[in-house]
């Protein structure tokens, strides 16, 4: 096997696992902000219980988001050193900004949020969660800026074969950025809403205790999912225009695509410049799933007088539909990423030039090792998530009140 294929497989595996966890992170944190804000504003303990229960699932899910994210970040240097060599001056900037502006603060805030229950003032504790959410969105934004640059390189000039940054503003107004960012963020909300609704549906089907709590989260989840799916569809279809313009080869073989391929053949030599069929197949299925999930609107009238719970079968529908948004986000990602092949930076840097000059055995060992490691951790994480989801909202470890005080409250100074 050649290094290029192995490196691409590894990127696909790591990114897919990463994506499955970060969409949940982004979606759930938004709903957590709503719930904790409601708790602080109303003082109603029901909101605190909701925050602790869903916060527990959020924090478990977050673990794999970080673990896979760190591997992603290193993978650029390990497997794709050509990317940093030829386009690092431009592509590296948004990634560096993401780590500093977003991820650094997100994790710092989250650590304080987890351990800050009963220790910090309610307002400070809520502000920390807002901080986590805002930085999570900032993180998604800068990653999409970086990714959009690979989809459609702008704001650079090539000198001595290396891209140099000329106009950072162009990266932010990249036509492949705006709609895609909206699409990804609303997809995350859809996943968060669906997850919340499906877990609540399971509890309501099983008639576990805490009817009121799961009734509330079912309603929040379904309304969020309904609003989000409409946004997903809107931002999704709105992308066809700009993407078709900047990436004519992505969706087909029109005259523009042919002209571009002729131009590339003269500049880069003959080669196969059409993306694999996988991309458009994935796109087709994703659209089907997106249209199916639009039916969630039909469930909203059943929220009236709890008909959705009394009829029971709609709860089954919600529960069984849970895998769909996850499949859709992976397919969408494949459509975007595979659809830009054979380029790593569209029309600028061929994928084969970006791969690191390491031996195939090293790359194979890395692929197998990290896939096994992250795959095992992902499955373990999902099992833990399922266990905590089904265990119910009775005293989750997150936010558990501490034992009564028996020691002096004033800590001794560290540098005495």
């Amino acid at each position: 096997m050649d290094t290029l294929l192995l490196a691409r497989l590894q990127f696909a595996t790591t990114t897919s696992i990463h994506f499955l966890f970060v969409v949940v992170t982004l979606g759930l944190v938004t709903l957590l902000v709503v719930m904790q804000t409601a708790w602080v504003l109303t003082g109603n303990p029901a909101w605190e219980r909701l925050t602790r229960y869903w916060g527990q699932l959020y924090v478990i899910n977050y673990v794999l988001g970080i673990a896979t994210g760190i591997v992603m970040e290193f993978q650029f240097g390990l497997n794709w050193s050509g990317l940093s060599r030829y386009v690092g001056n431009v592509f590296g900037a948004p990634l560096a900004i993401e780590t500093l502006v977003a991820f650094f603060l997100e994790s710092t805030f989250l650590g304080m949020w987890i351990f800050g229950w009963h220790r910090l003032g309610k307002g400070v504790h809520l502000a920390l969660l807002w901080g986590v959410a805002i930085t999570a969105y900032a993180s998604a934004f800068w990653i999409m800026v970086a990714n959009s640059w690979l989809q459609h390189p702008v704001g650079y000039e090539v000198r001595d074969g290396i891209a140099h940054l000329t106009d950072f503003g162009a990266l932010l107004s990249n036509p492949s950025l705006g709609m895609a960012f909206g699409h990804v963020v609303s997809a995350a909300l859809l996943v968060g809403g669906m997850l919340m609704a499906a877990v609540s549906a399971w509890h309501l089907i099983r008639r576990t205790p805490d009817f009121a709590l799961f009734r509330t989260s079912l309603r929040i989840g379904l309304v969020t999912a309904a609003l989000a799916i409409t946004l997903v569809q809107g931002f999704g279809f709105a992308q066809f225009g700009p993407v078709g313009e900047v990436q004519p080869t992505k969706f087909g073989q029109g005259p523009e695509a042919q002209a571009l391929i002729t131009e590339w053949t003269t500049r880069f030599g003959p080669g196969d410049y059409t993306p694999p069929v996988l991309a458009s197949v994935g796109l087709g299925f994703m659209i089907l799933i997106g249209l199916t999930l639009g039916c969630v609107w039909l469930l909203l009238p059943l929220l009236f007088r709890d008909w959705i719970i009394r009829l029971r079968f709609p709860l089954w529908l919600v529960l069984l539909a849970l895998p769909l948004p996850f499949v859709a986000v992976i397919l969408g990602w494949i459509a975007r990423e595979v659809g830009r092949q054979p380029w790593v930076a569209y029309g600028l840097l061929p994928t084969e030039q970006a791969v690191s000059p390491v031996g195939a055995p090293v790359m194979l060992a890395s692929l197998i090792g990290f896939s096994l490691l992250l795959g095992t951790l992902a499955v373990t994480n999902w099992v833990l998530l399922a266990r905590h989801a089904t265990r119910g909202a009775v005293d989750p470890p997150l936010g558990r009140p501490p034992a009564p005080p028996n020691e002096p409250a004033q800590p001794e100074p560290a540098l005495a």
């Binding site: 924090v59 478990i60 673990v63 970080i66 673990a67 760190i70 591997v71 290193f74 650029f76 240097g77 390990l78 497997n79 794709w80 050193s81 050509g82 940093s84 060599r85 690092g88 001056n89 431009v90 590296g92 900037a93 990634l95 560096a96 780590t99 500093l100 502006v101 650094f104 603060l105 994790s107 710092t108 650590g111 304080m112 987890i114 800050g116 009963h118 220790r119 910090l120 140099h164 940054l165 690191s356 000059p357 390491v358 031996g359 090293v362 990290f370 994480n381 833990l384 266990r387 905590h388 470890p397 501490p402 034992a403 028996n406 020691e407 800590p411 001794e412 560290a414 540098l415 005495a416």
Partner: protein, 335 residues
Amino acid sequence: MDLAWYALLGLFFGAYLVLAGYDYGVGLLLARGGGPAGRRAALTALGPFFLGNEVWLVAAVGILFGAFPVLEGELLSGCYPAVAGALAGVVLVTAGVQLRSRPTDERIRERWDRVVVVGSVLAALGWGVLLATLLQGVPRHADGHVAGVSHLVTPFAATAGLAMVALVAVHGATFLTLRLPAADAAVVGRSARRLVPVALIAVAVATVVGVLSDRVRDAVQRPAVAVLLPVLLAAALFAARTALARRRPGWALVATGAALALPVALVGAALWPYVLVSTTDSGASLTVADAAASAPTLRLLGWVALPLLPALLGFQAMCWWVFRGRTDGRAPVYW
């Protein structure tokens, strides 16, 4: 401009080794027994700081990618096994610490704790080997690529990796001495003092092997710095031992922290103006200036970083301040 960014890169990676160093040290010490309650107490001591410590690595690599893209590609792919090993260790520790208490069964928790121990060893070894590799030079050819993986397998890299494991263990034990309830702190303080000579010997062996290695002698541009900084490192360890003996765990932690940051300073200063010294072709050595991104990129990142750094440091300091002091019965337990 290049120098400022290089210093910032060193600051972030050094801060990562200092802060996550005690995570890994505490992780290593989970292997020394102490029963379920003892291990849980050690992780509770890490508690609120854990998530804020590892982010320094992510930020360091972000700076590496944004400000030194050529170095990022060559360093990581050229030292593949060391980086991949450290990375696997980081992932294991991250997942292990955060997930170990989610199952309620003590036997499963114990298995997770073993994962944390293995991860901590891997991470410390990997970063030690990576720093040693920089110091002994890499086979960078005229085409700009570092070839092969066999250059990592040297006695110096091995001893430096082990020295890093020993340093991390001392650092973790010192952290626990500062953080655990006073009764438990006395016990762990004694192990910390016993670990100091082990770390001293490991550092001494690595230094001697390094001085004897032709590759290290050829790669080092400033021998005076390269000799002075290990001496300072040893002095920091002696200071830590004295502070531990006088029951000043805070100052001891400052000293062991300095011991973990000094190797980064050593690599940066001893190789300057180079960052990757080629062992095969002296013309192929990479200077810091050549490795840096072009001026517009550095300027842009400078405008972003300048107002941001106080905020980053401020929020980290807030975390240290809010959760300062020894853990007690009221300390929040989650990991």
